[in-house]
Structure formats: C-alpha cells, structure tokens
C-alpha cells in the first residue's frame, strides 16, 4: 500500500516534470480528441497520434480486419491505400508500395511486433510463412515512403508493422472455424488468461488448407502454434513471444514448371522490454528466428537481432529518439544437388546500425521539423547513411501539411550476390543459359521527396493525400551478357545473364484516402493511387525487368451496421493493367454478411469476386506463365468467444 502511494507519487512527479514540456491533451476539446487515433508507432518509432506523423501513414484496425472477411494476411493489406497486393496462386502474393512489385518484391520492410520478417535470400517476404492469426492482430501500421532513417536497410518504399494484441486484451477462449470453395478449411483457437506466476498469457493454434487455384500452383496446407506472455519485470513491462509454423505446398519438382518450396518449417522467439526511465522510455528487443525451407536446395536460415531504443521526453523544444541495432543472419544450402546453386553455400551476414532523430517544435507546436539519420554497416556493401528531413505544419486545427526528403538504401540479397543457375536446353541444341550473382554488387539508392495533406474537419470525416517523387539509382536487375562458347565437354554455346546495378528509375505518384462515417450505421472508405515509372537503361543491355505495377488502383468500401445485429460489407476494387506482363486491368466486388445471434458469436459469409469475372492478378515469375485465374469464391465462418 505504501509502495503504491510512493509509486504513484513518483509517477506524478515524473510526468509533472515533463508534462509542461509535453503536449497537453486536456487543452483539446472532446470532438478533436475523439478524432485522434490512440496510437501509431511506426512513423516515428515512438507513440504518436497518426495525424502528427510527417509520413504517409495508414492504420488498419481490428475492426477493418474483421469486416474485410479476409482469411490471410496479404488479403488484409488490400485495405491500405498505396499498396499493390496481387495474388499469384494459392499461397503466393506480390505485395509492394510505390512500384517494383514482384513475388520477390524487395523494397518493403515488414515486421511483426518489431521483428523483421523479410528473408535475406531475396530481400523480400515469404507471405506463405506469415500466419499471424488475424483475430489476434491489434492493428497494422502501413507507412508508405522511405523509412530507412529509422527502420534501416530495406525500408525503401515503405514499412508495414503488424502489431498483435497484448495477452490481456481478449481474455478467454476464442474459436474460429470456417470453410469455403477455395479455402477449403480454416480453423483457429486461442486462449488467453492470467496466472500469478507467469503474468498475462495467450496461446494459439491454427490450421488451414487452400485448394490449388485455377490453372496454377499447388494446394497449400499450413499449421501454426504460438504463445505470448506479458508481465512486469525489471521495473518495466516484459513481453515474450514465440511461434512455430509448418507449411506444405505439395511437391517441389524442380525450378522450372512449378512454384518454389515444397515445404517450410519456421519459428521464432522474441523478448521485448519497455521501461520508463527518468529521461524518457527505453525499449529493448531481441529475437531469434529460423527457417528450414524445402526449396530446391533445402535451405536453412537463422536470424538473430537486438534493438535498443531510447525515446526521450521533451527537453525544451526537442523530442529526441535514438537507438542501435544488431542483426546476424546465417544461411546454409543443405542440398547441393539442384539446379539452383550458390557460389557460397554457407554465408553469414552482419549488420550493425545506429540512428538518431530529433523533432523540434516551433511557433507553439504549429510547426515541427524532424531531422534524423541512420548509419548502417552491412557485411557485403559496407557503410550506408540514410538521412531524412521532414516538416509538419498545422495549418489549422483540422488541417495538416507535411513534407519529407529522405535517402534510403536496399542492400543486395543472397540470390543477387551468390547465385548461379544453369539451365541446359534439352540436348538437341548445344545451348545453355546461366544466371549469376555478383559478389561486388553495390546497394540500391533512393532519394525520395514527399508531400502530404490531412484534413479532419470533424470526427466523422478524414481525408489524407500524399504525393511522392522517387529517384532510384543502381537498381539491381538482370542484364544480359554477350554469348560465349563453352568448350565443355560437350562443346556448347552459353548465354550468360548477370545481376548488376544497371538500372536507374524515376517513379512518381499520388495516394489519397477518404474515410467518412456517413451515419451511425454506414461507413464509407475509399482510396486510390496513381503511379508513373520512367526507366533509364544503363549501357549494358537490359532484358529482364522483374517488376510490374498498375498505373492506378481504386478501392471503395461500404460498411453497413444493420438491424438484428447483422452487418453487410461491400468492397469494390479496380486495378489497372500490368504493362510488363500484359495482364489486363480488372475489377472485383467482394461482399460479406455477418450475423451476431449472441454478443460473443459471429456467423459470417464472404463472397469474393461476386460477378465471377475471372481475372488474373499477376505473373507467376517462378512458373513462367500467368498467375492463377481468380474466380468467384465463397467462405463461411463461425467465430465464438467464451470468456470476457
């Protein structure tokens, strides 16, 4: 009791001493308060309200996820403006922001609870391995634009941070089961409770199976189990998490003619610690993740990371954030008898980074200037500096303008550095093709200029727009080399291709989103983005550009809350054509209806592509043909929550 009094006094003094300098929310009227997001953390790597972020941020909430009827993470990402999400087959997606989309898109930094989930194999995300149970996600923060100064290499076109609920947030047992025409079965179970010895905990298990989609790929079965514990410790809050996943994609019968892995086993464990100290708050995060992939080549990967950040309280006009990070990755190719060879079958890479950012307030907090930089060292390319300069101007209580100038860097992936693939054409012709990596590749470079506008006239209407102009240099792509004669035996002609920093490009565009609570029972969200890309080829002749983006996308969603505890959700999207792959533009109407016969029970039915206009969304880069044809599909689900 006495300690509690002392503790609260201490906290009061602590906060009182900094509160004068910190923003005072009690000055705001209730209407303004109600239009503010409680938290957004990815834009400045510390808690802030999303309208204060000098970046193009969008938060996908729990409700958004539930009402979308999505069963998989990449499908949920369609809700954010500025992301191009294209489904290739049962378990492959191409996801990117602001250009350069590909199944192996490499310009996005994606994290789950602060743990980076991209694989250094191709600097991208294996979406089929990311099975965070959707009902445990608290929110997904999508930041478009370079985040290199805070999030480091790879955060070139954007940062996606998937944040799961704290263990205390949904006590009790939660069960979900469903099935449909494409996702033939899907079930998830989670239990969350509290134990005096452990703290707040959650455990979950999920299992799902997706049939092979029309004309492409294999069926996909996956299982994941995980846990989370939140408790007090060392004067702060400790969070422990871990997951183990296993996926089966049917047989991997070689490189050409099928999608890559036949199976994957992945897992991770992480610890996070957050504590308020005299000058601010301290965040420490360490994680270990591993993957065993049945790629042609039987691929093993292990990553260990450590991040430390100090978010200082306001000192005068300054809000200072600083941190260091370490990351170590080991990769090993177990089975060397396959076509996909690597010059280095085992490799280790290390990164250390240090970053600092200062946010300076002027004119009674109406103008903020943010300057920050990250210095990073990466094994194969050396030091990289990623600075950013941003400004946020509160034009009026309901309008904000922001601008940003940044540099971001993408380091080459293992495939780009070390791979060697040789394809012999069937023995009739003495021809072979080789694709080789280059150990001396440099990093890709981006200089980005952005401008944004936010208008929130009241708690019912939000308008957000962002404009960007990106200059890329030294983009890594495949270039062709002159034909050579290979003595063999047997004597044959060889056409080599090599990864090189051969491409410069300029990409510019705009993204806009509007959210309007029309009435208490009707909500309308609409967003669109436009993109133009200009490529400049380097002297070395360029033949393959593995990327394709639509020039425009548009999506409109209506959310109806109807009588008798029912809901109706309509989503219509229109995606432009993909020039490079000659894939036509398409539109799709998705519908979802749900009924809550009791407060803790939900029955829902989702109809995707209601008009059955079969469309193809992307190119299958590994199979060498168009991706799966998406037709109409239905999915029904029951979700039941026992407990609080």
């Amino acid at each position: 009791m006495k300690t509690q009094r002392l503790l609260s006094l201490a906290i009061a003094l602590l906060i009182a001493s900094t509160a004068a300098a910190e923003e005072d929310l009690t000055d705001l009227d209730l209407t303004t308060l109600m239009s503010m997001d409680v938290i957004v953390t990815s834009a400045a790597k510390r808690s802030q309200v999303s309208s204060d972020a000098a970046a193009a941020v969008f938060v996908i909430t729990r409700e958004d996820i539930r009402r979308s009827g999505a069963t998989m993470l990449p499908e949920v990402l369609r809700l954010a403006p500025g992301l191009h999400v294209a489904r290739i087959d049962a378990r492959s997606w191409a996801v990117s922001a602001r250009g350069f989309n590909s199944r192996f898109a490499n310009k996005l930094q994606v994290l789950v609870d602060g743990r980076s989930i991209y694989t250094p194999l191709f600097s991208g995300v294996m979406w089929e391995e990311q099975l965070v149970p959707l009902h445990t996600i608290d929110r997904i923060e999508v930041v478009r634009g370079p985040g290199g100064s805070l999030w480091g290499i790879n955060a070139v076109n954007g940062v996606i941070n998937i944040i799961t609920q704290a263990a205390a947030d949904a006590r009790g047992l939660h069960v979900e089961a469903g099935g449909g025409t494409v996702d033939s079965e899907s079930s998830a179970l989670s239990y969350s409770g509290r134990s005096e010895g452990i703290g707040d905990y959650r455990v979950y298990a999920e299992h799902a199976h997706t049939d092979s989609l029309l004309n492409s790929g294999e069926p996909w079965t996956r299982t994941q189990v995980g846990w989370r514990v939140d408790r007090d410790g060392f004067g702060g809050v400790l969070t422990f998490q871990g997951d183990v996943q296993e996926g089966d994609f049917g047989d991997a019968d070689g490189y050409a003619g099928s999608n890559l892995p036949g199976s994957s086993k992945t897992g991770n464990v992480s610890v996070q610690w957050q504590r308020a100290i005299a000058v601010g708050s301290l965040d420490a995060h360490t994680y270990y993740s591993w993957a065993d992939r049945g790629l042609p080549g039987r691929w093993n990967e292990a990553t260990a990371g450590l991040d430390l950040q100090l978010s200082a309280n306001r000192i005068g006009r300054h809000l200072f954030t600083s941190g260091i990070g370490l990351r170590h990755v080991d990769e090993e190719q177990r089975d060397r008898t396959t076509r996909l060879q690597f010059t280095a079958t085992e490799s280790s890479q290390n990164q250390w980074s240090i970053y600092a950012q200062d946010e300076i307030h002027f004119f009674d907090d109406r103008l903020r200037v943010i300057a920050g930089t990250k210095l990073e060292d990466f094994t194969f390319t050396g030091l990289a500096l990623q600075p950013t300069l941003r400004a946020l101007w509160r034009v009026s209580p309901d309008q904000t303008l922001w601008a940003a100038m940044s540099r971001a860097v993408r380091t080459p992936s293992r495939i780009e550095l070390f791979s060697r693939v040789t394809v012999m054409v069937p023995d009739v012709l003495p021809v072979s093709f080789t694709l080789s990596g280059d150990e001396n590749l440099n990093e890709e470079d981006l200089h980005a200029y952005e401008l944004g506008w936010r208008w929130r006239p009241d708690q019912r209407l939000t308008v957000d727009a962002a404009f960007y102009y990106n200059e890329y240099e030294n983009l890594i792509s495949v270039t062709s080399q002159p034909v050579t004669i290979d003595p063999g035996p047997p004597l044959h002609v060889n056409k080599p291709f090599v990864f090189a920093n051969a491409l410069d490009a300029v990409v510019y565009g705009a993204e806009a989103s509007v959210e309007w609570a029309v009435t208490d029972w009707l909500r309308w969200q609409v967003h669109g983005n436009w993109l133009r890309m200009q490529n400049q080829w380097a002297p070395v002749e360029l033949t393959l550009q593995i990327a394709s983006d639509p020039r425009s996308q548009f999506e409109s969603r209506l959310r109806f809350d109807l009588p008798y505890e029912t809901e109706l959700d309509l989503a219509w999207r229109q995606v432009g054509e993909l020039d490079n792959y000659h894939i036509a533009s398409y539109s799709s109407l998705d519908m979802r209806a749900a009924w809550h016969p009791r407060k803790d029970l939900e029955l829902s039915l989702a109809l995707t592509n209601a008009f059955d206009r079969e469309h193809i969304e992307f190119f299958d880069e590994t199979g060498g043909g168009p991706g799966a044809r998406m037709g109409r599909s239905i999915f029904g689900r029951i979700a039941w929550h026992l407990g609080q």
Binding site: S8, M36, V38, V237
Partner: protein
C-alpha cells in the same frame, strides 16, 4: 548454428526466470499515450456535468488503481478550473471511503464492478474502462474502438447520483443507456 540457437534460447529463459517480480496487470506497451488521452477525456467529462448545488470548493477527482491516468490528470489539471472550481486529484485505496469525491475514476486493474456493488451510491461521476461498468452502476464507460477512445453513458445511474449531464456530451457518446420512460 545449433549452438547459437541453444545459447539464445537459454538467454531468453534466464531473462524470463529472473524477471519474477510482483505481478500486476501488465499494461499494453504503449501505455503512456492511452492513459494521457483518458485523462484528457476525464477532464472534458467533468466540464459537461452539473453537480448538485451543494457541491462547493475544488472538484475532487478520486482514482482507484489507474496510476497512470491519475498522474497525467494531476499534471495537466494544475492551475486549471472548470467553471469557478479548481481541481484536486486524490489516489484512493479500494477500502478507502469515497465520500467527498466529485469524480471517481476506477482503473481496469481493480475489480471496479465489485467496488460499485459494495459502496452506496455517492453523488459522484463514476468513470472506468472496465467492461460492463454501466451495468454495475457506473455512469461513463471508456473503451477503445478502431484505435480511438469512445464512451457509453448511463443516464439512470447519473440521475441516481444526482448529476445532470449536458446534452452536448450525450451527443458524442457511442451509446446512451436509460430505461424507457414509464
């Protein structure tokens, strides 16, 4: 690679074991911002309430649990007035008397609903972020919806406490509960 994994797992387990201290309800990691916003809401609620004429002197805002919200409220209410009344904040224990409080904020870490059952209804604005608070006699319940703070108001409980709530506040509530007029 095996040994790295083993060492790392060991380190995690050690940290876990060593961290056993008094277990209180672990808050969401981004606790500061949410508590700051709740304090701001509480301050605003007090602006929209009419206490009985007999209420004089500073507005006493009492907290049970919710140290963070108490701290933010204390810091930001300093020197401010609502109407002509200044604001004082008090931290109470569960067993302490709640008489004399004009506003009572109960944190989620205490069994707010049980506390409401025990105490006689006082002339205070009761606010909490606990589920079902209004069903147990509470007047305003705070909750997060789509990453924004919202609130429900129970008018019957407000009437029982002798308080009048401005229609401007009722307009902003997600739900206003009252039994149908006879």
């Amino acid at each position: 690679m095996c040994s790295v994994r083993a060492v790392h797992l060991l380190a995690v387990l050690l940290l876990f074991a060593a961290g056993s201290m008094r277990i209180a309800q672990a808050d969401d990691l981004d606790v500061g911002r949410e508590e700051q916003m709740k304090a701001a809401y509480l301050f605003n609620f007090a602006k929209f309430v009419e206490w009985p004429v007999s209420a004089q002197g500073p507005i006493r805002v009492c907290f049970i649990g919710a140290q963070g919200v108490h701290a933010f409220m204390t810091a930001s209410a300093a020197g401010k007035t609502i109407g002509a009344r200044s604001i004082t904040t008090v931290m109470l224990q569960s067993a302490d008397s709640r008489l004399g409080c004009d506003v009572i904020y109960l944190g989620a870490s205490v069994d707010a609903n049980a506390l409401m059952q025990d105490a006689p209804s006082t002339a205070a604005l009761t606010v909490s972020d606990v589920d079902d608070f209004t069903r147990h006699g509470g007047i305003i319940r705070l909750f997060k919806h789509e990453n924004r703070l919202r609130f429900d108001i129970n008018l019957d409980n407000a009437r029982r406490a002798g308080l009048k709530i401005s229609s401007n506040l009722l307009k902003l509530a997600s739900r206003v509960e009252q039994e149908a007029a006879p």
